[in-house]
Symmetry: C2
Subunit: 180 residues, 2 copies
């Protein structure tokens, strides 16, 4: 799995608690990976056992204590090893296409409803991406931009291009099904 590596990649930048990581996964990381807080706490424990991360307790006034995790040398080595290893392609899982195939069984109307629902969702997604693009990346990064900005920009572009492809497909699909 890559959750371990997604977490380690955040710990490269700074030490973090499970709670901090959960927040990261809810905001920025959510664009390319997702995990619940239960999964994150569990995985931090597993990685601590493997000695990929080290742990220190931080007492806080008022709030509960934090358990702050940092990347160890072993963790950094594992992350470097994984980063250059060939990508393992995730198996496609597209519920909507199963449902589309069921148009014969349930009729085109309920399937068109589903497609229109997705259309709304994708529009919203594109709006979210566009907003971030304007806020943080008002001009396309150039050769003197820091590498981190470049990779963040490309992550955003990935989301935008995929969303646009889905939008185009949904328009095609809706048009063809409406003419049946």
């Amino acid at each position: 799995m890559s959750l371990k590596h997604a977490i380690l990649s955040l710990l490269v930048e700074s030490e973090r608690s499970g709670y901090d990581l959960t927040k990261n996964f809810e905001s920025s990381v959510a664009f390319y990976w997702s995990a619940s807080h239960q999964q994150i706490y569990k995985t931090l424990g597993d990685m601590h056992d493997k000695n990929w991360v080290s742990l220190k307790h931080q007492a806080q006034s008022g709030k509960p204590d934090k358990k702050i995790y940092s990347l160890t040398d072993d963790g950094a080595a594992e992350l470097k090893r994984w980063a250059v290893e060939p990508v393992k392609q995730a198996a496609p899982k597209n519920q909507l296409l199963i449902k589309l195939m069921l148009a014969r069984l349930v009729g085109t109307e309920p399937i068109l409803e589903q497609l229109n629902g997705e259309l709304k969702r994708v529009y919203k997604e594109i709006a979210t991406y566009s907003k971030i693009e304007k806020q943080y990346f008002s001009s396309k990064p150039s050769h003197d931009t820091h590498l981190k900005n470049v990779t963040s920009y490309l992550t955003l572009r990935n989301g935008l291009l995929s969303a646009h492809a889905e939008l185009d497909w949904l328009h095609e699909a809706i048009e063809m099904l409406e003419n049946k």
Copy 2:
């Protein structure tokens, strides 16, 4: 999960064995869902317990016996219920984007290698889709085409549009990283 529903959707068309279903998943279904034979046999057993599928044994000369599964009324009802229920969006899982973020840690060269590897894979994928498009769908389905052809065509279009979006993104990403 939707593996149950993907299997049921095939059993709508005809009764099939676990082996038959495995072959379906390796060829056509693979474009939108994937499953190993172990998983398919297991799930068929689970669905038999739920009475979503019924079972008959078929002796074969020479080859091992087959266990042929058919859709039951309960199975059909479940499939119809699921088909019209709102799509549950799959959480994004993109290893490549985690790796891209690691360009600072490991340098841009190994990441460019990964991106170029993906480029090759996507080119092949597009070639596969284009070949099928030519073989089976020489002309865009029109209003008098059977619904099943329309949905199959749209499944193919989904693959093509997604693959093209990824291709465009890879070109952008490679260009930007090369200029660093």
